[in-house]
């Protein structure tokens, strides 16, 4: 399978007061099209920083990040925005649903910023796909945590991204709701979507075919299922 993401000697440093923090230290890795990747490691190991750099939300201090055919460090702000809108779908632990928008409107939100055609029918398809067709007109505070995360996943998929980035997608869910998210991510992976998730959940990590273990900003070990 061709590489979708290639990181070469990526380091990320930032200042915390007078202290220089090395969040990532000389990371090189490749992620192939259609892989289900879990990034695991203790808190402060650099998992989220790695996800942010892959997601074009942050740029490395050193090294290069190739996403599909683009070198992210060479893109300007407009091109980075376009990349985030059309290549990447984001799912976060806190869901970040707009409280005044219905589930359907939340799913449609990213299409306001892209040039997606007929987004309404796709939003309905996605809501059906995540099992929320009958909840599409409900506001977030009328939904359970699991339902909100499924809406967030549908929203991440509305612009037909090549990669789904999920930062602790089950971190705020009970085990039953977490289970439904695992199943959904599995299904999306089986459909060919590339998924990269940061997780503390061993169960979710175990489902991934490619696991990257980080420690102190470095790759401690990397495992791929054969």
């Amino acid at each position: 399978m061709p590489n979708l993401i290639t990181l070469r000697n990526v380091s990320k440093m930032f200042r915390r007061g007078r202290e220089q923090v090395h969040a990532l230290n000389d990371i090189s890795l490749q992620i192939q099209v259609g892989e289900f990747v879990a990034v695991v490691g203790p808190s402060g190991s650099g998992k989220s920083t790695l996800l942010n750099i892959i997601g074009a939300m942050d740029l490395p201090s050193k090294g290069s990040v190739q996403l599909v055919d683009k070198e992210l460090v060479q893109l300007n702000e407009k091109e980075l925005t376009h990349t985030r809108a059309n290549t990447i779908g984001f799912v976060f632990q806190q869901f970040f649903l707009q409280p005044t928008l219905t589930a359907r409107e939340n799913v449609l939100l990213p299409t306001l910023f892209s040039k997606q055609k007929q987004p309404e029918s796709r939003a309905d398809e996605l809501l059906a796909r995540v099992g929320l067709a009958d909840r599409s007109n409900h506001l977030p505070d009328e939904l359970s945590g699991g339902e909100m995360q499924r809406v967030a996943i549908a929203r991440a998929l509305i612009n037909q991204p090549k990669i789904l980035l999920a930062d602790e997608p089950t971190g705020n869910l009970d085990s039953q709701n977490a289970q439904s998210i695992y199943t959904l991510l599995d299904e999306l992976h089986q459909d060919g979507l590339t998924i990269i998730t940061v997780t503390h959940s061993e169960e979710l990590a175990a489902r991934a075919q490619h696991r990257i273990y980080l420690r102190d900003g470095c790759i401690d070990k990397e495992k791929r299922n054969e």
């Binding site: 989220s48 702000e77 984001f90 306001l112």
Partner: protein, 385 residues
């Protein structure tokens, strides 16, 4: 759904705050609308009043022409009087259509209400061709004609007697003016000679109202009248200019208050939207994560301020129109000179101008919060997650 509806829904999240901000803009807009209407309405009412007075020029004694002009329109009294012998001499000046002698006096009644008397001769009717009188013109020396409002307040009808203890005189109502909508409605009209006798001003006049046969001959007529001893001529335009000058300081004060009100309301809008921007920085950051550009975020915020100001503007103009009669009454009370008639009328241009002004102000007020929001980093959302 579009960015505009997204902004609207954001505002709905903070109903009380948005409502209060909108009310602030609304009050400032109502003030703006009222001031613009007043500026236009005052000039119009003044022109109408001058036109209804039928006087092209007013001849009075030297030293108090403007007071005399004001009296001719509003009633009252002044200490200097014109010799009544000037009246036939003025009538003899070529180019004059009508010249009518007037003696104007006020009387304060026990309850503190001022009554304005107009002593006029028969020629006065030529200056008031639009007058419609129920009853008759003066039928004798003891007859009186009441303005419509004066008759209403005095509860008198044609044929009734009316007694004024201040001058110890009783008159018979020979006619009542039909409502004119001008100051004329509030006056009590007496035959000139009766008024001179009642107020002990025999042979005296407050002034002579002159109507010209041809307005183009104004300067020639004026020059000839001014050859008469102890007279001074003011034109209708001069009276209007003088009145406008008297009112200018009030208008300036009102404009200053308005500028303060508008500034405070726009600062209120900036504050409200800025507060919501600070509260929503994470959400904006998240929107940046899902593909919103700084321009998208800027527009969302500017639309919010636009909606606040547009809503406030529409509310303010409606409020201003709804309470226009109250504002009218207040302006009539506070101004040093206020012509009769309504100042605040339904003028589509002023309505549109008021709403457009606050909407444009809203756009400007949205710039600072918009830029702040547009700078929200996508990292803002995830770093604090």
């Amino acid at each position: 759904m579009n960015l505009f509806t997204l902004s609207l829904k954001n505002l709905q999240r903070r109903k009380l705050r948005s409502g209060l901000t909108m009310a602030g803009v609304g009050i400032a807009t109502a003030a703006l609308f009222s001031l613009l209407s007043f500026n236009s309405g005052f000039d119009r009412a003044l022109k109408e009043e001058m036109s209804n007075s039928g006087i092209h020029m007013l001849v009075s004694t030297e030293g108090c022409p403007m007071e005399a002009a004001s009296l001719a329109l509003h009633g009252g009294e002044i200490p200097k009087f014109l010799d009544a012998r000037r009246l036939p001499e003025i009538r003899d000046v070529p180019g004059i259509r009508t010249a009518t002698g007037m003696l104007i006096f006020s009387l304060i009644e026990d309850e503190g209400r001022a009554i304005y008397f107009y002593g006029v001769d028969d020629n006065y009717r030529d200056l008031k061709p639009h007058w419609k009188i129920d009853g008759e013109w003066f039928t004798g020396a003891d007859s009186i004609i009441l303005g419509a409002e004066a008759a209403r307040v005095e509860k008198r009808k044609v044929g009734d007697k009316v007694y004024f203890p201040g001058i110890d005189a009783e008159f018979t109502v020979s006619g009542i003016l039909q409502r004119t909508g001008s100051e004329d409605d509030g006056f009590f009209y007496l035959p000139l000679a009766t008024a001179q006798k009642a107020f002990k001003k025999e042979g005296k006049l407050t002034g002579v109202g002159v109507s010209l046969a041809d307005v183009e001959q104004f300067e020639q007529v004026k020059s000839q009248i001014e050859t008469l001893p102890d007279v001074y001529v003011v034109s209708r335009d001069q009276i209007m200019q003088q009145i406008s000058a008297i009112t200018a300081s009030s208008k300036t004060l009102m404009a200053a208050v308005l500028i303060v009100a508008l500034t405070v309301s726009f600062l209120g809008v900036i504050n409200t939207v800025l507060m919501s921007v600070f509260e929503m920085l994470r959400e904006f950051g998240y929107m940046r994560c899902i593909g919103a550009s700084p321009g998208h975020i800027f527009r969302i915020v500017v639309f919010e301020t636009l909606l606040l100001c547009l809503g406030g503007g529409i509310f303010g103009v409606s409020f201003g129109m709804l309470f226009s009669s109250v504002t009218d009454q207040w302006l009539h009370n506070i101004l040093p000179y206020a012509p009769a008639g309504e100042f605040i009328l339904f003028d589509p241009l002023i309505i549109i101008a008021s709403v457009l002004f606050v909407t444009f102000g809203g756009l400007l007020a949205g710039i600072i919060p918009g830029l702040k929001a547009a700078n929200a980093s996508p990292m803002e959302a995830v770093r604090n997650a």
